[in-house]
Assembly symmetry: C2
Homo-oligomer: 288 residues x 2
């Protein structure tokens, strides 16, 4: 059995689905949950996601050989602090946070340096639902998981986390922390920022109800991500503020250029941009 005892800190969609997938794969002995809300944890026991739980992180990680942190990014630092001194010597720590630089910084702040058994990770999966009742064992099947080991990360710890995700059906790749944060800023965090700020800008215009009334199907698709959790996205954006701030500045410049091209009536330049974009999207998105 790959994991003797798994501690899941934060038992929601992400943490719960990992536990269910590992159980289905016969890869885990005991699962200990940790969280604040008793009803959610009771539900998790009832659904067979976890075997037992504690509200205390230190207690929950006691004796675990795999610790999975699935708390919001804003709660990572506190969770690392709370597990210090309670971890078993062979415990591997990994997480599901959407940014990796901030998680590594939180760990360094709590432990003095990044623990060799820490393997920062990011499963690129999710649904619009949250909470343990939304968890299901196939959430990670055929989805990508990015692991961002540090130079001092123990190869054995990395191999165990790698194996854990593969048993869930995921496709695992490794990446540098900074590179991960740049790639995700581009493909996920920036689009969310754009959707949120566009909808907000329109909502603040005069006669905004009329504006939304004439919004067609394209607008619905384009702004769907603006219906995501504001708290979660505040945390993600703050956690990745360096890479994301750079992307925002670049993109703002690009828009200013575009406004100039438009005013100059330069149809050839516009067509060139639109054609390159369509080709890229059709090739990379629909072609996959």
């Amino acid at each position: 059995m790959l994991i003797r005892r798994l501690a899941v800190i934060g038992v929601g969609l992400i943490g719960g689905s990992l536990a269910l997938a590992l159980r289905e794969a016969g890869a885990v002995g005991e699962v200990v949950g940790c969280g604040r809300g008793r009803p959610n944890l009771d539900k998790a026991v009832e659904l067979g996601v976890i075997d037992r739980y504690s509200h205390d992180v230190g207690e929950a990680v006691e004796g675990a050989d795999m610790v999975f942190l699935a708390v919001p990014l804003g709660a990572m630092a506190q969770a690392f602090e709370a597990m210090r001194g309670h971890l078993a010597p062979d415990a591997v720590i990994t997480d599901g946070g959407s940014t990796k630089g901030s998680v590594v910084e939180d760990a360094i702040r709590a432990f003095g340096e990044a623990p060799p058994n820490l393997v920062p990770g990011h499963p690129i999966a999710g649904t619009e639902h949250s909470g343990v009742e939304a968890a299901f064992p196939t959430l990670y099947r055929n989805r990508r998981v990015i692991l961002t080991p540090l130079s001092k990360t123990d190869p054995g710890a990395l191999a165990r986390v790698d194996a854990m995700w593969r048993l869930c059906g995921a496709e695992v790749t490794h990446m540098e922390v900074e590179h991960h944060d740049e790639v995700l800023a581009a493909t996920s965090h920036l689009p969310h920022m754009l959707a949120f700020s566009l909808v907000d800008a329109l909502a603040q215009m005069k006669e905004n109800d009329e504006i939304f009334r004439y919004a067609a199907g394209g607008f619905r698709d384009f702004t769907r991500i603006a219906s995501s959790s504001p708290v979660m996205w505040r945390d993600i954006c703050l956690a990745n503020r360096k890479a994301l701030g750079m992307m925002l500045d670049c993109f703002a410049e690009e828009l200013t250029d575009l406004a100039r091209i438009l005013r100059e009536g330069d149809g050839d330049r516009l067509l060139e941009i639109f054609e390159r974009a369509k080709a890229a999207r059709d090739r990379f998105i629909d072609g996959v």
Copy 2:
């Protein structure tokens, strides 16, 4: 019968669907098509969309009491020029262009002034397909059509175009030309510009194939409109360059502000923006 003879200039999804809807409503006698491609026009006759056709606009509008222009925005000026001197005295002219200021300007340029029988219009409907084979009679059912009559527009002409769209099942509203172009710049043209330019920006980054590989579902939705026709969107953006240029400048400023808020780590401001956006989207989009 509302329309004795309908001339459809540009027999594709938009023009073809109008003809089919009016036929189904028993509201039109004869339908004359006009276009450049013989195979498409032969197909239109075969499908019963039009009764006959001409490649010459002047010939096609001869004797028609309703003329519907469904050519690309870049071809409107030429179409107006070509029909001058061939229109019946009772002919009402309307169109399906996505911007209205440019169409009115094209008409003024061709006729010296905006003809009293011109009723600029914009059916907010479409699919990802094009050509007459994509046309179907219910395209406009429960969709919005915006008419933008001018101060000199004949009330009788307006009433006829209004009635025509209602017979197709559409919900018709009237708006000032400039207001239409601003509303559509906000809800349609700006989102398309953002999607095209975001995908293009990512496509030009180093290791862009890797970036797209890690794009999740949200990115797919957000950038779907970047797979739209580059030529059509070049025409639309150029035609609405004034309103759209202003929107782009405003939005670029907003992004620069957002980058600053992010760098300052102002989580409260971020949360405020995200919450306002989510509330607006949930209320206006999903609530409708």
